[in-house]
Symmetry: C2
Subunit: 321 residues, 2 copies
């Protein structure tokens, strides 16, 4: 890693529509790993020596843009740096003012941010859930998983989550109120474990993991089951993703397996914020984040995601509010 | 294989609702292989020494059932035998009278039978096709594939099919009118081949094959692509299905991959028959079948499917009409 520094003037160029931000929180998300591959996906790959960018929460220091003024709290796509000067319309279009400041600002990287919206859209739009259905969530204490499990409970589903430590499993059963939870690292046979937790089978699998986990889930799915493919964190560091063998189950069980990206569901954003904030305020949704302090800790925080070192949503605090 | 014979009276038991059939054509379908596995799927497994059953076209010899009378041509679920006595309601419920006899009766095992219906429902309901989209069909000269390709052309899609011999590829390009076709056995790199045939990517993949073919398709899919998983014939004879590696593409391309079974789409049956018969009569749809004569050839015909020996829909003629 090459650390670099530069000197910037803390004001926007005269006459421009740029926005100058002081970054407060950075969202550390698994998908950032994909931007480190040479093959481009939906986003361009990061280039060596380019500042990494991702979701963040910031305060506006100066603005030439009509939608923003100094002192506004905003969330958007920012650099992993102390100050970001957003000069192009892609970045200023992605920026949005934070409406409610009666929750911790860092929550806009999770509960009320991109991961929360991913959970909301993924569960409600992709999973086609019905009351009473059997729902399984992997990486269930992660940024997205913890919210999916709770949305599913609020809909009246039976929800089981898995995670990679007993501490996380405890959180799932207590704080997040799931019906059951297990530590997948302690299960020598994942297929058998799922059979134990779902003797009637799984209607909905919210996929955050991929690989062997998916292979164990498929034979446990019920007829007309749905798999919302949100992420496959177990695969991102592999040269070649693992092979998944049980895909013929898709036919015999009429399973729909659907990948999705949160930015295709913007029409739900307002509803997501209002609903989720209300649930949180009413104590119906709990939220756990794992905040580390200091920009210099961001790379280790990202790497830590892939061994499950974080407990809850991983955030880096760049500066005190 | 144990051949067995028994003597039956060619009339239904007095007072029963049974139907006695003389079988004319048997439909030889890949899914029958799955019923030879110990694990049950949507249908019970075949038991050793049990008569194999599958779709067939028959003439009613005698009937105690109010819906059928001697002389009716019917299609339904029959035994691989010369005469079938259907005594339980499962079998008589599955039986239906053939309305139009102005097409060859054998077509009710294909064009106007279960495979045709599978193609019709699979393409129109599962693929969500739009005019101008890029469609790829594997096993494209098979019973289902040949119809999917033609339905897609009729909708105004750009359609490429693959098959396992140059004779079949020729059929695809001429008789079935696809935009392009290739022999997958002559392609050392399937991913590259698909890239060549679909420089803009694939919107819809109609999956009949599975395994390596699916792995080659996924990186070639476009955003919001759909994979209708109808069959995975390359996998049915394996002890363990091959691993498919490129599933992370589901996320980055927002792909929907959906398995289906034809019997969940019965509401479309009337529309399917009317539409398909009209297309055929008007010369807008062509149909190729591969008929072998004699019940004793049925096992070899089924085995032949898995090496692609058949050209078009495989049928066994049990008796002359």
């Amino acid at each position: 890693m090459v650390a670099s520094s530069e000197t910037i003037r803390l004001e926007v160029p005269n006459g421009s529509k740029a926005v100058l931000l002081k970054n407060l929180y950075l969202s550390i998300d698994p998908y950032l790993r994909m931007r480190m591959n040479r093959e481009e996906n939906y986003f361009p790959s990061f280039q060596p020596e380019q500042v990494i960018e991702g979701d963040g929460v910031s305060i506006v220091l100066d603005s030439g843009h009509p939608n923003f003024k100094a002192g506004d709290y905003v969330r958007g796509f920012v650099g992993w740096e102390e100050y970001s000067l957003l000069t192009n319309t892609f970045h200023t279009d992605m920026l949005s003012k934070i409406k409610y400041t009666d929750v911790p600002l860092s929550y806009y990287t999770g509960l009320l941010g991109m991961p929360g919206m991913t959970a909301y859209a993924g569960f409600h739009e992709i999973c086609s859930p019905k009351k009473g259905e059997y729902v399984y969530v992997s990486a269930a204490s992660g940024a997205v998983g913890q919210l999916v499990g709770q949305y599913a409970k609020l809909m009246g589903c039976y929800v089981v989550g898995s995670a990679g430590s007993n501490e996380k499993v405890h959180l799932l059963k207590t704080k997040f109120g799931l019906d059951a939870a297990f530590n997948y690292k302690e299960e020598p046979d994942l297929t058998a474990a799922l059979k134990r937790y779902f003797p009637e089978g799984i209607d909905i699998y919210f996929e955050n993991v991929g690989g062997e986990m998916l292979d164990a889930v498929l034979p446990n799915m019920r007829m007309n089951g749905r798999v919302a493919v949100c992420g496959m964190i177990s695969q991102y560091n592999l040269q070649k993703p693992q092979g998944v063998h049980n895909l013929p189950c898709l036919i015999t069980k009429c399973i729909r397996m659907q990948g999705f990206l949160v930015f295709q569901h913007r029409h739900l954003h307002e509803e997501f914020i209002e609903t989720t904030r209300r649930y949180f305020k009413e104590g119906k949704i709990a939220y756990v984040e794992d905040v580390v302090e200091g920009l210099h800790n961001a790379p280790a925080a990202l790497i830590g995601l892939f061994s499950g070192r974080n407990v809850g949503k991983q955030v880096v605090m760049v500066a005190h509010e």
